[in-house]
């Protein structure tokens, strides 16, 4: 799951190494250097990958890779 999420995030950065070395506590925008507008695309990719719908209100709450992973796990369980 964690690896799948990183693979999605990796598409949106030139600095692939930062994402490869990411940890659950890594902040997607601040630590992984992702352009903040790309969060929308990451969420859409996550929805397609895991066949879930992410509520719009969650966008600001999913700060770290771990936040995203936990949210997806809660939706598919």
């Amino acid at each position: 799951m964690f690896e799948k999420i990183l693979k999605i995030i990796e598409k949106y950065t030139f600095n692939k190494d930062l994402v490869k070395n990411a940890k659950p506590e890594s902040r997607i925008i601040a630590d992984l250097n992702i352009n903040s507008t790309r969060i929308v695309d990451i969420i859409l990719d996550v929805e397609e990958e895991f066949n879930i719908e992410v509520e719009d209100t969650m966008l600001e709450k999913l700060v770290t890779v771990g936040d995203l992973q936990k949210y997806v796990e809660s939706k598919i369980s």
């Binding site: 030139f14 600095n15 507008t37 790309r38 969060i39 929308v40 695309d41 859409l44 719009d56």
Partner: protein, 426 residues
Amino acid sequence: MNRKRVVVTGMGIVASNATGLEDFKNAIKDGKSGIKFLPELQKLNFGCQIGGIPNFSNSKYIDILEKYHFENAGQNVKYSCLAAAEAWIDAGLTIPDPINSETDYDTGVIIGSGVGNIDVFTDKIYPIVSQGSVRKLRSHTAEFTMFSAASANIALILGCGNHISSNSSACSTGAESIILGVERIRNGLAKRMIVGSTEIASPYVWGAFDSMRVLCRDYNDTPERASRPMSASAAGFVPSAGAGVLILEDMESALERKARIYAEISGVALNSGGQRKDGTMQAPGTEGVRRCLRQSIEDAGINAGQIDYICGHLSSTMADVLEINNWAAVLNRYGNDFPYINSLKSITGHALGASGTIETIAAIIQMYYGFLFPSLNCEDVHNKINDLINPDKIVRKTIYTKNINFVAKASFGFGDINASLILKKI
């Protein structure tokens, strides 16, 4: 302040008959047409069922589209970024690393278009928004639909920090983009300007012209014969698409870094006939055109007798006769004294806003490499053109010559807008 001299040090091209400078040079030299029958237009009941659509799959720079996530971009961003990458490398410059590089405040980008990124609206936005699924529009939708999308994305790749903008003046867009870049460098406001223009292939763009009956309908079975500038049987223009990008540079800067110099842009002029007298929204007025051509020659500081070759606008319509008449009158050169002339649109079709830069690149290639390409389908020269000039001055078979020292290139657009350039061999 003395104005700076402006030279061309790099070029890149995506055209209907070839992608990449070397292939384009060979294609125009051989008169290789880019016009094909397009079944989609037949299905949509177009009168004109032919056109020129570039194939860029063999571009040396194709990896850029994936690296910068341009998969979902419209044609304009794709065409112009491939052409800009080629032009930048051709100028002996290096594409910087996107992470570890600084802003290049000396270089600006002006890439124009006649109609803009319409394909992104028709192919992506309209279907998604119409279904009530607006949240599924991706974040890049805005950056691929804004009119400056091509310029902004080229600036992203190269880290350009000077003037970044996009111009539009119908079919004079390409020549205008070059002139805007020339003026900025002349005034000492930039060392380098990446200029050019791009246009998409789309039935939603071409439909407007088909309904006006200005596209060629008589040669759907023989597409390569359809674009016939200066011919008595010219029956309307053939639409096409693509992009041309040039690296303009302050001559001192080019010499300092020992860059290869293709040509100097020694004279420029822009104007409009104001849609008065015989000028209309669609037709260039005689007075405005002649004034523009004359001003560009004066700006170059040469006399009309020094022009060796004209790279015409010549779009295979009834306006071709008017254009020849205007050139002859402004230069005061008739019969055998008229310079050589040809029309790239006979080979590539009319790429609307992109035509001015694609044709300027063709003009520079010819002057630099010493040949003139054949203007196709002009076996039956129009009588009124025959009355003005010796028809042998229309290049109909490839001519090899090193004696091209000054070239005149003009473009004319809806809105009665004119743009003229004088190119000088260095």
